[in-house]
């Protein structure tokens, strides 16, 4: 065994040890949301702190640093996958060790302070209570980025944490095209569209236990492997667990709106299928190359199943008889798949709140946030001007008058993310949505009978195609564009997403 090979094996052992401990951390998080007795939150806090301390020590261990430096400088004899592991681990090590202790402590404290300030500000609809926190996050983000990689512009470093290898220049290009196509479509739908009838699925009481049972059947039909995961109910739906053989998905259901639980469950199933599918090669296991490439790619998988599949016409053929069986009194036998498809696909105006918005308007909520947060860290937007800019963009992009509809509480203060310093995260949602459309288009080309399969409830061809072409690639590629090229033959192209929306909603809204 050469020195390099030996060093690599030492590195892999350390990385797998950290991975196992992070799996435990995932269990603590899941358990806290789903199982923990109410009286044990203090004790759970101490357990999380103890484990986080252990993981931090292991991730910043100077011996790990030495190994990584050695392998980063000379990796002759390592294969391509091993080299990717070295580079990813090296990057993680730089990130983990970049911040001085006082800054790390301030960040941890500001996450809590920021959360409480945000709650208070939103409660009073008073941005001035939140502005100092946002200002401090902007300052900290700049300092942090400079410490991690002074050769890059600030926003790129922040972005890279969530969307590996993505740059602000590339997002400008992508979101620029998106804005040009999407703003007129939104305006058109609002001014000229005829909305489908949504009453089939809303405003009556759908028993939540029956919803949960239905969604379990659907998740299993889509391909969720129950021997490598769990389905539970929690207040906030999420996909977690300890790793690819233990993917724990949670859902929630509202009696008065069956679409929310349904699309939520299918969304989480998409995340789960990616997680369960990224564990194919034994020598990748527990190593950085096996992890999801980015938040955007993860979101592409949830949105592919939620939007491209569940909100499609063929899916309504599969879903309708199931809905009728689950809710015989609420979904009449006379219902057509077309009516169900219409009811599933409403564009909701005013589009005030991001998390309640539909697939058409969602993208512009994200573009707005991206433009503001990038302006902030580049110093082109002042913290005090954010509400005015927010409200102006809401009018321009989404035809929505924030001031008339509730002010800052329903505007700039609606999202929790900035209160925790998550700058660079929002773009991943819409990048994921665009990837989903492009990946689905490639799947349609590769699987000529895809629509018919979906209509019949045969999802295995699509799942297998995703497993083989995307899930198993993990973090092998350097960025989403490289992955998209491998999977679809070209880099991310927002026009595919725009065409999909234009075609679908021109038809649905009779434009």
């Amino acid at each position: 065994m050469s020195t390099v090979t030996y060093s690599y094996s030492l590195l892999a052992n350390r990385l797998r040890d950290i991975d196992a401990l992070e799996g435990i951390s995932g269990l603590l998080g899941w358990d806290e949301m789903v199982m923990l007795p109410t009286g044990s939150s203090d004790s759970r806090g101490k357990q999380k702190e103890a484990l986080a301390g252990v993981i931090y020590d292991k991730k910043t261990d100077p011996v790990l640093g030495e190994l990584l430096k050695e392998l980063h400088e000379s990796c002759a004899g390592l294969n391509e996958v091993e080299q990717v592991n070295v580079e990813l681990a090296y990057k993680n090590y730089i990130r983990a060790t970049a911040l001085p202790k006082d800054l790390s402590q301030r960040i941890a404290a500001l996450e809590t302070e920021g959360y409480h300030a945000w709650i208070a500000a939103r409660g009073a609809s008073d941005y001035s209570k939140f502005a100092p926190v946002l200002q401090e996050w902007v300052d900290i983000s700049r300092r942090k980025a400079a410490l991690i990689d002074p050769s890059q512009e600030t926003y790129n470093v922040l972005l890279d944490e969530f969307e590996k290898g993505m740059t602000a220049t590339r997002i400008d290009e992508i979101f620029g095209q998106l804005r040009v196509g999407l703003v007129p479509l939104i305006a058109n739908i609002k001014s000229k569209g005829t909305a489908p009838d949504g009453s089939l699925l809303r405003g009556k009481e759908f028993d939540t236990k029956a919803q949960a049972a239905l969604c379990e059947v659907i998740a299993l039909d889509l391909g969720f492997d129950i021997t490598k995961g769990r389905l539970d109910v929690s207040v906030h739906p999420f996909t977690g667990g300890t790793g690819p053989t233990d993917v724990r998905m949670t859902t929630r259901f509202k009696a008065m709106d069956v679409t929310e639980g349904l699309t939520g469950a299918i969304h989480e199933t998409g995340h789960s299928l990616y997680e369960q599918g990224r564990n194919v090669y034994p020598d990748w296991e527990g190593l950085p190359v096996s992890k999801a490439l980015s938040m955007g790619v993860h979101e592409s998988q949830s949105l592919l199943w939620e939007r491209m599949v569940a909100l499609s016409k063929p899916f309504s053929h599969y879903l309708l008889p199931k809905l009728q069986t689950s809710f015989p009194d609420l979904v009449p036998t006379s219902t057509t798949p077309e009516a169900l498809y219409g009811a599933m696909n409403l564009v909701l105006f005013p589009s005030l709140i991001r998390v309640e918005s539909d697939e058409v308007t969602y993208g512009m909520h994200v573009v707005l946030r991206y433009e503001i947060e990038r302006g902030l860290v580049e110093g082109k937007i002042k913290v005090e001007d954010v509400p005015a800019i927010w409200n102006a963009k809401m009018k321009e992009y989404l035809q929505t008058d924030v001031e008339a509809l509730g002010g800052d509480a329903k505007g700039v203060l609606q999202d929790v993310h900035w209160s925790a310093g998550a700058i660079g995260y929002f773009p991943t949602y819409t990048l994921g949505a665009m990837m989903a459309a492009q990946i689905f288009q490639a799947a349609e080309a590769a699987l000529p009978n895809l629509s018919e399969s979906i209509a019949k409830g045969e999802f295995a061809p699509l799942k297998t195609w995703l497993n083989e072409n995307l899930h198993c690639k993990g973090s092998f590629y350097r960025n989403a564009d490289e992955l998209m090229t491998a999977v679809t033959g070209r880099v991310l192209d927002p026009n595919i997403y725009l065409s999909y929306l234009n075609n679908k909603y021109t038809d649905l809204y009779k434009l």
Copy 2:
């Protein structure tokens, strides 16, 4: 702050950190039994190994050793509780660091090898397949004991791991008295007793969901705090969780025997009440003094509720209407509390299998194992002679002919414990049973209306008395006799247990 006080605070931080990590270890164990997807056992194995490695490193950290040595040598300025923490932690450190790596590794390997050898031997009812494992455990146990404390005799060191401060001499005394009283009682019941009618609770199908619902009601009535714990179902009932604010109790139910699930659930509730009750003083939290004193004391709490409460006459007054409501077709309205009491308290002959035996015969199963395992580690019994000795003692103590009833598979090979090297563990069961009787007697003296309360389903007085007099004492006392003296006014006295059994079964079996 003095040097000693400062060192103590450093020690306490380290011990609390280890405690939090052990809490996580408890969660991994619970989750594996109750929640883990079947396909994730390999991955869980790696997580457990990674965490065990972290805990081992922290428990054997030489810096911890230095702190402990310093405080063990001079603890002037520490209060009594702090001194107890130092001594317990010092002892744990000695135990954790005593074994050389090769021995620890051999022990870990032999646990697995031993398990498989035991399965094979029991399957073939062939002791010779198991004898080499037992021989190795005997050798390892001697070596281990000599490394931990060469000043003590082997069995005392082994015992101390499970029953703090107990000695073989003291057990000889206690079990000697027990044997003298119990063997004739068993013989008497067998030869002259008239068994109560047990058919009320057996041989018909009790819906397991209804059993689970009933047992949940009972656990909550007994005082289980659901804000600091969970109730779930698992294949093997146990009480686990992450700590006193997160006590997770599991149960299982058999359709054809309602007593098994019922007494099992009440048994685990007893363990849970002790765990939930040992967390009273904030400055004890997460420190050794707050832990359960011993396995025997823990068992005293499960058995107190199972035997002294649930198998009592007053309890049948509380239980009967609940059983009738849960199983209206199986428990006729004409049933009397006396009939229920009788059906709950059968002595089962032949008494072949320890875990299926009743409160009368159970004790002698344990005495038999104690005598053999002590003989083995003292070199007075040879491994090859164990089956013959086992079978002879089964005849003498329990009137049971092992050879006629299935041979070694149903005899010496029936228990898993020795296959994992657990020598010194069996006595705790019966020590616990005797403590339960003595503690309950003290509770009766302190709570004059205890029987009436139990009959009415008012368990709070007993639970509160146990909380205040026993649970909150944790590991403050050096051994069970000291705790018994504090709680009941005298050291463990087997005659209390013998009188309880004699009185109860003379009446029940019309002796």
